[in-house]
């Protein structure tokens, strides 16, 4: 498989991680701890790139390296070609004014109105009142909160708070937006609305978005590229569609299995055996996309193996705007049928994964 992430030339890269490691020294009861281990990753300009991993995998540390909230122990982080680690405090501050950031818990000032919160980064940058006013109004329009400008955060819903957070992050007209689990505290519907807003900002403003999340749903809905991080290492990366349809690593599969439609019904999952006994049927997950998604695959499969096929679970979905399907089927586990089925899958370019056997 191609690795598109590695093909990005440095001048098209918004962010480059070059063999970055981050170790935290031992303190108190905690021993020394390696949060990131030799991570190399390129974020293409104009992309929405997702970094997914379980909690504690190192993704928070990774995103904080980009605006210098954390310093790498070794390696370099380049933002628009500038080595973040080489900047002094003043240089870091000016970099941070060109990189927006949104947070899981929004981090809005409770003492400021919606308007005041969005104005804060501009005040910090030393802009005068008139210019701030002229900048904040259209941003509140963009995120759909123009009528709430005089409200305080305590009067807003979670989704509205995150919209304020997004407007605030965009106030200094950054080219890069960092999203730190921005939808993890929101319900699924609000999550989709916030993700749609991020997509719109990405398309309309040409803003590069780097987001970290532990939710595959988020990656699926919004990203063009993804990297999977586990115990401080990038274990898989590529275009989101490719990673979803050809997951190569166990952790990726485990994360994918949380998606709706990819879970087996409980009764079947309990009956699954790793080894086949005589007369058992084999359970296979088929993943198909592109042209294959439009052909009558199951009826062709039945014809070519000359045996019955059970459909156990299935889903049709869209990843990065491309349709893809996943079907779990069961058929006779004898050598002849299996052989025919494997040939059929190979001829049709289907990705298969044997899940087990059932009586």
């Amino acid at each position: 498989m191609t690795n598109p992430v590695a093909e990005i030339s440095p001048k098209d890269a918004a962010v480059v991680f070059e063999s970055v490691s981050k170790r935290f020294a031992a303190s108190g009861a905690n021993g020394a701890f390696t949060a990131l281990d030799n991570v190399s990753l390129t974020v293409a300009r104009g992309s929405i790139t997702g970094i997914i991993g379980r909690s504690g995998a190192g993704k928070s540390t990774l995103i904080r390296l980009v605006n210098g909230l954390e310093k790498p122990s070794s390696g370099r982080v380049l933002v628009d070609g500038v080595d973040v680690g080489a900047l002094d405090e003043a240089g870091l501050r000016s970099l941070r004014r060109s990189v927006g950031m949104i947070f899981q818990h929004f981090n809005l000032l409770s003492s400021r109105t919606v308007f005041g919160n969005v104005a804060l980064p501009l005040e910090i940058a030393g802009m005068d009142r008139g210019a701030i006013e002229a900048r904040v109004r259209p941003l509140l329009d963009l995120v759909g909160l123009a009528d709430k400008h005089g409200r305080y955060p305590a009067e807003l819903s979670g989704g509205q708070k995150q919209r304020v957070g997004i407007a605030r992050a965009l106030a200094t007209e950054p080219k890069l937006l960092l999203s730190d689990e921005a939808t993890s505290a929101l319900d699924p519907e609000t999550t989709q609305a916030i993700l749609a807003l991020l997509r719109r900002i990405n398309a309309e403003l040409g803003l590069t978005v780097l987001l970290i999340t532990h939710e595959m749903e988020v990656v699926k809905a919004v990203t063009s590229d993804v990297a999977v991080i586990d115990r401080g290492e990038i274990i898989e990366r590529g275009h989101t569609f490719d990673v979803f349809t050809h997951p190569r690593h166990g952790t990726t599969r485990a994360l994918l299995s949380g998606l709706p439609g990819s879970k087996l019904p409980e009764a079947i999952a309990r009956g699954l055996k790793p080894e086949a006994a005589a007369g058992d049927r084999v359970v296979v997950r088929l993943t198909f996309f592109g042209a294959a998604a439009e052909r009558p695959l199951i009826s062709q499969l039945i014809k070519s193996i000359g045996a019955e096929v059970n459909i156990i679970a299935g889903t049709i979905d869209e990843i990065g705007g491309r349709p893809y399907g996943s079907l779990v089927v069961a058929y006779g586990g004898d050598a002849e049928t299996s052989g025919k089925a494997e040939r059929f899958f190979a001829e049709n370019g289907l990705v298969t994964e044997v899940l087990g056997h059932v009586a």
């Binding site: 501050r93 947070f103 981090n107 409770s110 003492s111 910090i124 305590a154 009067e155 605030r168 960092l178």
Partner: protein
């Protein structure tokens, strides 16, 4: 009640208010930056200076654990240096101010430490300088808590100012001791106590109201 007594009580109340106002103002002006420093100078914080932090913390603790009445006596030479005398209302302001500083510092420290760390991170991510974080985030967000802290300071000062009466400090405490206690006038004692209670009530409810107005955290939609 005789007009003379009324005069005495009026004068004593004004003396108390004067002592509390000056000591409260000067003590808070000095205590506030010390409190901010204590809250922001730990390891890995905005102005990291852990050793100085420890020394200042120790000094604050020492000052706070000295009983006020002992402090008053112990710093008499200093008081005399500043005011030229060691008795009377003006002299009482010195120990009151000295006692207020560490009190305010600890309350301010607690109020600032209570500000959500996420807000500091957000401000850093915006490119704020440490001073901007203090002024635009920490002080702004802790304003309700700071208001309550200052209210508590003034209330404590009213109590302390009555105590300096015991060493000739002037004010309501002095009146209570000299007339109420030493001249066996329970009516004077009672009036002094009532005036003190009213003062404290007024200060506390004004502070509470102000803090509520500053607090935007729990307003309902």
């Amino acid at each position: 009640m005789s007009p003379d007594l009324l005069m005495l009580i009026g004068k004593a109340t004004l003396d108390t208010l004067f002592m509390v106002a000056v000591a409260g103002l000067v003590g808070s002006l000095v205590g506030l930056p010390i409190g901010i420093f204590l809250a922001t100078s730990g390891k890995g914080e905005l102005f990291p200076a852990p050793n100085v932090n420890r020394v200042v913390g120790l000094a604050v603790n020492a000052a706070r654990s000295t009983p006020f009445i002992i402090l008053v006596v112990a710093i008499i030479p200093f008081t005399r240096l500043v005011t030229g005398t060691s008795i009377g209302t003006k002299a009482a302001i010195v120990p009151l101010t000295i006692a207020t500083i560490p009190f305010v510092a600890r309350l301010v420290e607690a109020a600032i430490r209570d500000v959500d760390k996420g807000l500091i991170e957000a401000a850093r991510a915006m490119g704020a300088t440490p001073m901007q974080i203090v002024s635009k985030v920490l002080l702004a967000e802790s304003r309700p808590a700071l208001t309550l802290a200052l209210t508590m300071t003034v209330v404590s000062l009213i109590g302390y100012s009555a105590m300096v009466g015991a060493v000739g400090g002037g004010g309501l405490g002095d009146l209570g001791i000299r007339y109420g206690y030493q001249r066996f006038r329970p009516d004077v004692m009672l009036i002094v106590v009532v005036v003190l209670i009213v003062l404290v009530q007024l200060v506390q409810s004004a502070g509470d109201r102000l803090a509520r107005r500053f607090d935007k955290r729990s307003r309902k939609t």
